[in-house]
């Protein structure tokens, strides 16, 4: 049996999880490129150099998206979001701008 996959649920869950992880600063892990170290959880480690949370935020979003895409029926969410699905990524991009605004102050 072919597993069902909902691209609309994938998009929606990914954008929402990404925004929440960014807003609450909750990456699944942080990568420290100086020594190539991965540290689980959102708490910065000391003495490892600059950390990169982006990969961990992506991982959060991907996990949520895959689960949602396998669980939520495409027909249902397509009817719910038809003509308006584009609002979700636009809002997620605006959330990113909002949380990055400090760099432009």
């Amino acid at each position: 049996m072919k597993p069902r996959f909902s691209p609309t649920a994938f998009m929606a869950a990914y954008c929402i999880a990404y925004s929440v992880a960014l807003a609450l600063d909750l990456p699944l892990f942080i990568y420290y490129p100086l020594g190539g170290d991965f540290v689980w959880g959102p708490h910065p480690a000391q003495g490892l150099g600059p950390g990169m949370a982006w990969y961990g935020i992506m991982a959060d979003a991907l996990i949520a998206a895959v689960v949602a895409a396998l669980v939520v029926p495409q027909g249902w969410i397509d009817r719910l979001l038809r003509h308006w699905a584009w609002v979700i990524p636009v809002v997620a991009m605006l959330v990113s701008i909002w949380f990055m605004r400090g760099f432009f102050a």
């Binding site: 994938f10 600059p50 982006w54 935020i57 992506m58 701008i97 760099f103």
Partner: protein, 153 residues
């Protein structure tokens, strides 16, 4: 090696920019192009043929960017911070977040470009393609400007 990957990243991004811009403009047109002028021919292609190429190019550019990102973090961002170039750091942060969010759109984008969605999802198709085109343009322009400010070593 990093420089080679950066150049490849840029070349793939330019190909992606061309593909999705061509597709978006062709999808926006309301009637089939009949003229022989360049712009008529540019609009006159079948936009569906770009969908798979756009996804492959987007993922290739994304993976290449993710691979060279640590070099930026260690060698470029630190310099931007020392030079108090907050807007440059912020510009890159937005570039990475938009690129990450663009990945979310790819399965839906492919689904929307299937022939059976022609009549029912035209507006969604145009909107999602437009958002992806915006992300690609924004990311390429920001990346280009930042590389001019300070390139990877």
């Amino acid at each position: 090696m990093t420089i080679a990957l950066l150049i490849l990243h840029g070349l793939v991004a330019i190909a992606l920019l061309g593909a999705i811009t061509h597709q978006f403009i062709a999808a926006v047109r309301r009637s089939p192009a009949r003229g022989t002028a360049f712009i008529d021919r540019y609009k006159g292609v079948n936009p569906r043929v770009f969908a798979n190429a756009v996804v492959v190019l987007y993922l290739a550019a994304f993976v290449l960017g993710a691979v060279i990102y640590p070099s930026y973090r260690l060698n470029v961002r630190v310099a931007f911070e020392q030079m108090a170039l907050g807007a440059a750091v912020g510009g890159f942060e937005l570039k990475e977040h938009f690129a990450g969010l663009g990945v979310a759109l790819l399965p839906l984008y492919l689904w929307l470009w299937r022939p059976e969605r022609d009549d029912s999802h035209g507006r969604d198709r145009l909107a999602i393609t437009g958002i992806l085109a915006f992300i690609v343009w924004f990311d390429l322009l920001v990346g280009h400007v930042l590389n001019n400010l300070r390139g990877l070593p």
